[in-house]
Amino acid sequence: MSFRRAGAIFSVTLVVCAGVLLGLYVTRFLEAAPPTVNAAAAGLRQSSLTLQTVAQVGHGETRDWVSYYARDPSGKWVHSTILRVPAHSLVHVTVYQYDTATGLRNPLWGQPRGIVGGVMYVNGKPLRVLNPELASHTFAIPDLGVSVPLEGVAEEAPNQCENAPCGLDKAHNTITFTFNSGAPGKYRWQCFVPCAAGFILGFGGPMQTIGYMDGTLEVV
């Protein structure tokens, strides 16, 4: 085989390998992105979102990470924080909160805001402010002015959930509230509680990762 031919074969092999690696990288990236979960229709210009917060995912490389889950319109729990709701509509949110309290670094976030009537309901009871020490997480969409604290379950509560998604037979609090989705756009949402166990200040890992304690709200 001539030197020139060997060089050509080597070059082609190199390009093919690079292409395969690039394809694998892109595929892995696309697979890693959480799927979009649509809100369920709930009447004219109304929709409903059902979420749950869990203390630990319970499986995979990030089994110890705290996380949100979202329920799709078919009733299946999806490990995602990419949510889609209709524009200019009332969004009724139900959060099943399974984690214990961590506490707010800034007590200001203990007051719900940006929601209809300024009132959230914890296990059916109206609440205008939550003792910041009892907060486990928050559901906040800063650009829409929405922020709602989520009360944690008691440390000593029996039958706590260890593997997500959690069923309603596990210890939990149910938080409900309604907000107006406003104009179309893509809005970030996040938790303001430093809830990432094992990370300095509790702000690493899941607090910095979309699909866990951060996400986007697509208003369409």
Partner: protein
């Protein structure tokens, strides 16, 4: 032959440069200067705009010299004859040229250093930068004692603002009265952020367990945005808050509304302090 005795070509270049510089530099100062960032919405911002104008005015003749020389060389020194071009005579070191070059650049650098140092200690105008927890008296505005204290609290990923002279109420938008000196006390409750109110000419690091003081006096009614200027995590690019400079009457009305609105949460806020070290600092497993 010294290069300080310019050739006819160089004389032409210098003449064109001189004429253009004499025309362009005042135009830059008069027309472009008022358009330069950060504007003149506060005394600090106005001072920074003046600094930017001075630097732009200094650099104008330099840029013109480069352009004129480049254009002249391109047009005048073309190779028009047949055959291979010949290299010109070698240029040796020239003490007078080097002295001129060093003298001019040294003068500019020393002037800018002196100007910058002067602007850091601006007396009544306020530089707009974070001056640490205890600003020097020379860098403190004369009306600092009557300034409105506003605490800026950075957190991943939001700004909140606390007004200690109004019951310690904390808000999510920054509203300031016009024509009043503001004393910003900037801090953070998690990682390092940077409070950047571009239109006010204020930029001060928000460091945990530290208080960073900055002054500015808004002089224009306007709405803008404050941002974080320190990469601080996933949503750093989304860390902003609205800023409104309003009339004193409107400010008081807004403040009354905020005190009522945030009263449920205010009772849970810690007593006002220049810095906070909230728990938990490390979440238990």
């Amino acid at each position: 032959m010294s290069a300080l005795r310019p050739s006819p070509e160089m004389r032409r270049v210098l003449l064109v440069w001189l004429v253009l510089s004499v025309i362009a530099t005042p135009l830059v100062v008069i027309l472009l200067g008022p358009q330069l960032p950060p504007g003149a919405a506060s005394d600090a911002a106005h001072g920074q705009q003046q600094d930017n104008t001075v630097m732009t005015a200094i650099v104008t003749p330099i840029i013109i010299l480069l352009i004129v020389y480049f254009a002249y060389v391109l047009s005048a020194f073309k190779h028009r004859a047949e055959g291979e071009p010949e290299d010109g005579p070698p240029m040796r070191g020239d003490v007078s040229v080097m002295a001129l070059w060093i003298g001019v650049t040294l003068t500019i650098v020393i002037f800018l250093a002196a100007w910058g140092a002067y602007e850091l200690f601006p007396g009544e105008t306020g530089a707009g930068g974070g001056q640490g927890p205890t600003p020097l008296a020379i860098a403190t505005p004369a009306d600092a004692s009557t300034a409105l204290p506003v605490q800026v609290i950075g957190q991943q990923w939001a700004w909140t603002f606390r007004y200690p002279t109004y019951g310690g109420v904390e808000t999510t938008e920054l509203v300031l009265p016009v024509n009043r000196q503001i004393r910003f006390t900037v801090t953070s409750i998690d990682v390092i952020h940077s409070f950047w109110a571009l239109k006010l000419g204020v930029k001060a690091d928000a460091v945990p367990n530290t208080s960073n003081v900055a002054f500015a006096k808004p002089v224009k009614l306007e709405a803008s945005t404050v941002r974080c200027a320190e990469l601080c995590g996933l949503w750093h690019g989304h860390m902003y808050a609205p800023l409104y400079v309003v009339t004193p009457a409107r400010f008081l009305a807004w403040m009354a509304e905020q005190r009522s609105r945030w009263s449920p949460a205010t009772r849970y806020l810690p007593p006002y302090a220049t810095k906070y070290a909230p728990e938990p600092t490390y979440r238990a497993e």
